[in-house]
């Protein structure tokens, strides 16, 4: 048998260590990472066509934030309704860079990442 093969105690040692550290603690992803993930996913979704309109989103049971609500009232064209208005919003920018951004808009996903 090769000298490199682990002894039984070595196996036990490393198996125990692996088990001990495999699920150690619930680590939260930093909220700026979540914000960047959302931005990246939405950008990816846009590459293959339009997003759901804000009206469709609301109709599916998702409340809109104040900015989306305003956008929905002001921008009438369908292309504008599908536009990712978060790309213009300061909340997204702050959330992508700060762990606890000072944004207090209700129903803003970027705010929710920091609160959770």
């Amino acid at each position: 048998m090769s000298n490199n093969l682990p002894s039984e105690s070595d196996h036990r040692l490393f198996e125990l260590l692996a088990r001990e550290t495999a699920d150690a603690g619930a680590e939260r992803a930093p909220s700026p990472l979540k914000a960047r993930l959302l931005t990246a996913l939405i950008r990816k979704q846009q590459e293959s066509g339009r997003l759901r309109t804000l009206a469709e989103t609301r109709g599916a049971g998702h409340p809109l934030c104040i900015f989306e609500d305003l956008w929905e009232r002001v921008a009438q064209a369908e292309a504008a309704q599908s536009f990712n208005c978060c790309s213009l919003c300061h909340a997204r920018v702050l959330a992508q860079h700060l762990e606890r951004p000072r944004i207090y808009w209700g129903h803003c996903p970027y705010v929710a990442f920091a609160k959770k």
Binding site: S2, N3, N4, L5, P6, S9, D10, R12, L13, F14, E15, L16, L17, A18, E20, T21, A22, D23, A24, G25, A26, E27, R28, A29, P30, L33, K34, R36, L37, L38, A40, L41, I42, K44, Q45, Q46, G49, R50, L51, R52, E56, T57, A60, H62, N84, C86, P109, A112, F113, K116
Partner: protein, 204 residues
């Protein structure tokens, strides 16, 4: 340990809580490009994926966020193939596992172990010592510390073999090396690990 999925996935977990959308409903909404559903997807699962990737990428904490992003983008690319046979969390962790193993494969191909460390004699670390450390709840912390200071080749091969529970043969095939070469690398990695473990434990 299950070889097919990360051990974090072994407990089947369905998203069935009251007002929460089921996995299938959520997936359908994401595929229809609903931005709020996409946000819910991130909110629900980013912590799970992040925690898994972070533990498996010791000592390369600098790569964790990029890899988590790769996992989510890969998930979006193949989300239409999600059938709900497992929970969405397990499905995502399966993608994360593939990404982590891609990283291991790449690193083991790129890195060579330091020759001067090959013949080091290590202080013995007995299972009894370990059990004591486990009882004192120090083992997890100490293990992470040791993995983070080991040469990367060693931490990668140990994580791949023991934390991902991959066989020598699997690792050899994926890295284009012989089983013997992986065996030797693992032996050096274990030796180094035990030496550093002893040093870290003594310094506390």
């Amino acid at each position: 340990m299950n070889q097919g999925q990360p051990e974090a996935c072994q407990t089947e977990e369905r998203s069935t809580a009251g007002e929460e959308r089921s996995d299938r409903e959520l997936v359908a909404e994401i595929l229809s490009k609903d931005r709020k559903a996409t946000a819910e997807f991130v909110a629900r699962y980013a912590d799970h994926v992040y925690a898994y990737v972070r533990r498996r990428l010791i000592p390369r904490a600098d790569l964790v966020e990029d890899l988590v992003q790769e996992v989510f983008l890969a998930a979006w690319e193949s989300l239409d193939k999600f059938r709900g046979d497992s929970s969405l969390r397990n499905w995502l962790l399966g993608i994360a596992r593939h990404k982590v193993e891609d990283h291991y494969r790449k690193r083991l191909r790129e890195l060579q172990p330091a020759e001067d460390e090959e013949s080091l004699e290590s202080e013995p670390v007995s299972p009894h010592n370990l059990e004591q450390a486990l009882a004192d709840r120090q083992a997890g912390e100490l293990t992470r510390e040791v993995l983070s200071i080991l040469p990367e080749t060693y931490s990668v091969v140990l994580l791949w073999r023991y934390w991902e529970n991959r066989s020598l043969r699997d690792i050899a095939v994926q890295t284009g090396r012989t089983e013997k070469a992986i065996e030797r690398l693992l032996a050096r990695a274990r030796q180094q690990f035990k030496k550093r473990w002893h040093e870290q434990q003594s310094s506390k």
